[in-house]
């Protein structure tokens, strides 16, 4: 008998359509799986009623002969960065503890409109700041993976979409939303052996998504395979008049356009992505990826992205600068936490509220951002970083004159143990070294599982495409996916 929770989005969608199983059966199976998986700490809030209501609506629609919606019968997990009407939304922070929006983010609304139901709100790094899911005010998410070489320390699921990654990898939801500011979809996807795509900046509305760094934030799907990502992204994306940076474009039919042949395509290998001390296994995986795309018919060319080494410093100026301003609204006046010490004035209340409400990493970035924007340092930091950003975008444009997509590793290592890097913020930031440049340039980029390391932990390959060429990215990822034959999955120890 089919284990319903082993099914991906396409399988569930098609199975519900043809009546192999009911949407309600699927929802029930995942609701049970979610409630059993509490040790992972992937969900902050469980919303079985939401998932079951959507499933019931799907079953009713099918019974009355209606044409089913694109995601009818598919329950998903929502990263807690998306505001969901009537459901607590905290961005995994204490300062928004208990905040219940009276509005629905555009991305989540698009998904409900497509027939999906919500299993719950997924844990994450606080305000999407972190690369290991250790900055959540509600505790770490624990990766469902365990090392096979005897090391038994709980592993980081990556971040900031760590709850989404862990939940999909653990088969407690077939797909989930993520957001990616500097790699927050791709790096955790790589860490847990699933797929995730950050689309072109502006494809998904940011309205109702709690802002980290507005010029970089972009929602995207995380799912078990490339096709499932295409299906989910089609439902999430689209123009939104409520977001001034939203792209006024129709959503392509990415699923229908999937094609694993790369004949006639050129795949670029950026030489600057060979960083010092890159683990041999990452190097080997990258070489393997090159062979796979060649096997799929692509020509491989070496390209240069000369400003790559400046990307990380530029990112860690721009993102905190925007964050320092975006997070100013959490002041204790209108919603969320208010800490009002005895006899305190307005300034004291701000200070006390923000000191108590924000975690260490968030405070660190607010301080960095405030510093780099301050009058005496603006030109030295923010202006320079903005210039680098322009140069990086130009690097990519030039590279794409020579090739159609770029192939790189997603992260410089496999998942590390929780606590390994949390004491050293700079070591943690280095995790984003491969994902940040394409974020600065606003380009679509995807991580797809390529294999496992010696300890049996997943490793991801990253495809970066031209602006708006999600199809090219998905196709290259599909070519790799078919050849990698990645079937490893974590044992259910929880």
């Amino acid at each position: 008998m089919t284990v319903l929770t082993d099914l991906g989005i396409r399988e569930i969608r098609d199975g519900v359509r043809v009546g192999t199983f009911s949407a309600r059966d699927v929802a029930d199976a995942f609701v049970v799986a979610v409630s059993k998986a509490k040790p992972l700490n992937a969900f902050l809030v469980e919303t079985p009623d939401h998932a079951i209501a959507a499933a019931t609506a799907t079953d009713d629609a099918r019974a009355s002969g209606e044409v089913l919606k694109p995601l009818a019968g598919v329950p998903i997990g929502m990263k807690d960065l998306f505001c969901t009407k009537g459901v607590t939304t905290t961005a995994a922070s204490h300062i928004l503890g208990g905040f219940t929006p009276q509005y629905e983010s555009t991305v989540s609304q698009n998904l409900w409109d497509a027939g999906a139901g919500m299993l719950g709100k997924l844990n994450m790094d606080q305000f999407a700041m972190g690369s290991s899911n250790e900055t959540s005010a509600f505790g770490n998410v624990i990766s469902p993976w365990r090392r096979s070489d005897g090391g038994n320390a709980p592993l980081a699921p990556g971040g900031s979409s760590g709850g989404s990654a862990a939940a999909v990898a653990a088969r407690i939801c077939p797909g989930a939303t993520g957001t990616d500011t500097g790699g927050s979809i791709r790096q955790p996807a790589a860490f847990v052996g699933i797929s995730g795509i950050k689309p072109t900046y502006g494809r998904c509305s940011r309205w109702g998504t709690i802002a980290f760094a507005s010029s970089l934030d972009q929602a995207g799907p995380m799912a078990r395979d490339v096709r499932d990502c295409a299906i989910l992204l089609e439902a999430m994306a689209g123009f939104d008049a409520k977001d001034a940076t939203s792209l006024k474009l129709d959503v392509p039919q990415w699923e229908a356009g999937l094609n694993a042949s790369l004949a006639g395509k050129r795949v670029g290998i950026p030489k600057e992505y060979r960083v010092d001390d890159m683990p041999e296994e990452i190097e080997a995986l990258w070489k393997q990826g090159i062979e796979w795309v060649k096997d799929a018919g692509a020509e491989v060319v070496e390209v240069s992205l000369p400003h790559t080494k400046y990307a990380l410093p530029a990112y860690y100026i721009i993102a905190p600068a925007e964050a320092s301003s975006n997070l100013a609204r959490y002041d204790g006046v209108r919603f969320g936490l208010r800490d009002l010490p005895e006899g305190a004035g307005l300034q004291d209340m701000y200070a006390a509220t923000r000191a108590a409400g924000f975690g260490e990493e968030v405070k660190r970035r607010i301080l960095i951002g405030t510093y780099v924007l301050s009058a005496g340092f603006y030109d030295a930091y923010f202006t320079q970083a903005s210039k680098i950003r322009t140069l990086i975008a130009r690097d990519f444009e030039r590279a794409f004159e020579q090739c159609d997509v770029l192939l790189t590793p997603t992260a410089p290592s496999a998942a590390f143990a929780l606590g390994d890097k949390s004491a050293d913020p700079l070591a943690m930031y280095l995790n984003d070294v491969f994902t940040v440049p394409s974020s600065l340039a606003g380009l679509p980029a995807m991580s797809v599982p390529g294999g496992v390391d010696k300890a049996g932990l997943p490793l991801g390959l990253q495809i970066i495409g031209r602006a708006l060429d999600e199809q090219g990215v998905l196709n290259a990822a599909l070519a790799i996916e078919e050849r990698a034959g990645f079937v490893a999955r974590p044992e259910a120890w929880w």
């Binding site: 998306f82 505001c83 939304t89 961005a91 928004l96 905040f99 929006p101 009276q102 509005y103 983010s105 940011r206 309205w207 109702g208 998504t209 709690i210 802002a211 760094a213 507005s214 010029s215 008049a241 409520k242 977001d243 001034a244 940076t245 600068a321 925007e322 320092s324 301003s325 997070l327 100013a328 609204r329 002041d331 006046v333 209108r334 919603f335 307005l346 300034q347 701000y350 405030t370 924007l373 301050s374 009058a375 603006y378 923010f382």
Partner: protein, 483 residues
Amino acid sequence: MSDYRIQGATGEWEVVIGLEVHAQVTSNAKLFSGAATEFGAEPNTQVSLVDAAMPGMLPVPNRECIRQAVRTGMAIDAQINKWSRFDRKNYFYADLPQGYQISQLYHPIVGEGSLEIEDGDRVKTIGVERIHVEQDAGKLMHDQHPTRSYVDLNRSGVALMEIVSRPDMASPSEAGAYLRKLRAILRYVGSCDGNMEEGSMRADVNVSVRRAGEELGTRTETKNVNSVRFVMAVVEQEAKRQIGVLEDGGRIVQETRLYDPDRNETRSMRSKEDAHDYRYFPDPDLLPLELDDAFLDECRASLPELPGAKRARYEALGITRYNAHVLTAEVESARWFDALLDAGAPAVAGANWMTGELFGALNRLDKPIEESPVTPGQAAELLALVADGTLSGSLAKQVFEIMLETGDAPGRIVEERGLKQTSDTGAIEAVIAEVMAANGDKVADYRGGKDKLFGFFVGQTMRAMGGKANPGVVNDLLKKALG
């Protein structure tokens, strides 16, 4: 150059004045949200999720607010920047929900322009440095509860134009004339209602003093002054205060001050020492604003005839420079006069009548011209009755008084009350004969050379005719009768 000087204990001083005027853009919706902007609504009834800065909310520029700023710039012949950008000005205050104000520090939508002012009989051009659009903040209410302050966010996010002048004004009256002229232009254009009592227009007054010919002194900025009179008072008081400080050997501190109308003085609000670092940077939620030619053409085409052009047109119709100025000073007067012309009234007589009779009457009734009991159509009819001889000047005055009271049309009043002027020579000659008979001595004096008595006979005749005789006919017949 103004000759306004202040006599200090140690000699003469000049004043240098610049104004930053905040004008609320006339628009049904706020700058970045769809919320309403009506004045005087119950607190927090016009607040969208965006205005309250709820998590995940984003600003979307309101096209109408942008259009109004562009039209205003065009009205002062300013450079319109086809590329402008919104910055964030970051600071914490409870009436600023986002923790930043979206403004246009580095790349304003409107650049250099100018405004011509009349100060007495002097004409002067005042430079306008820029106009940028920005969001207003909310309002704190400290007097509603013994220990708490309340926040009203109705104004939060309302679009303001900040209109920054050059420090080109040199006297309180120039500052007053500038503000009045700017207000008039805004009202012509329809981009701001100019209602200073309701706070839709307010000025920050920058004042410094210097000895004649010396370099600019340190300035102070007096915030949120909300009437022309107060602006003039601020200039006067602040200049006197600064001169006093300087002559006592002190230094002027660059600071923000506020004006207390009850005591007619400015007071320090905060000094530069505790000035904010606003950490301006481009708003990452908004793309730069790019205006295309079609949009600019549409803005230009929608501009009304502005005061300068209107005045020239009126003068070309033979109207005196003074009257043309009076008629164009406020958009409502000009609109009324144009309607009068449209109704067929003769230009010069119409202008004279409006600036004399109508304005006098409205003054008496204490009514703005929009509430005039007499319509332009009725006034044109009245003027036509004068022109065709039906009414004499004095009869017209009588009819006008009745029109003001009853709102009736002049033709009907003339008809019903028999106020028609008569040119019946027989009747007039009969009255003249009676007047001459009753004043034989004066007839003799007149014939003896006392020409000035002619007016006396006109007056007597008119009185006897109940004011209804045609004065021209009376004149002619009297001359004939008196020989």
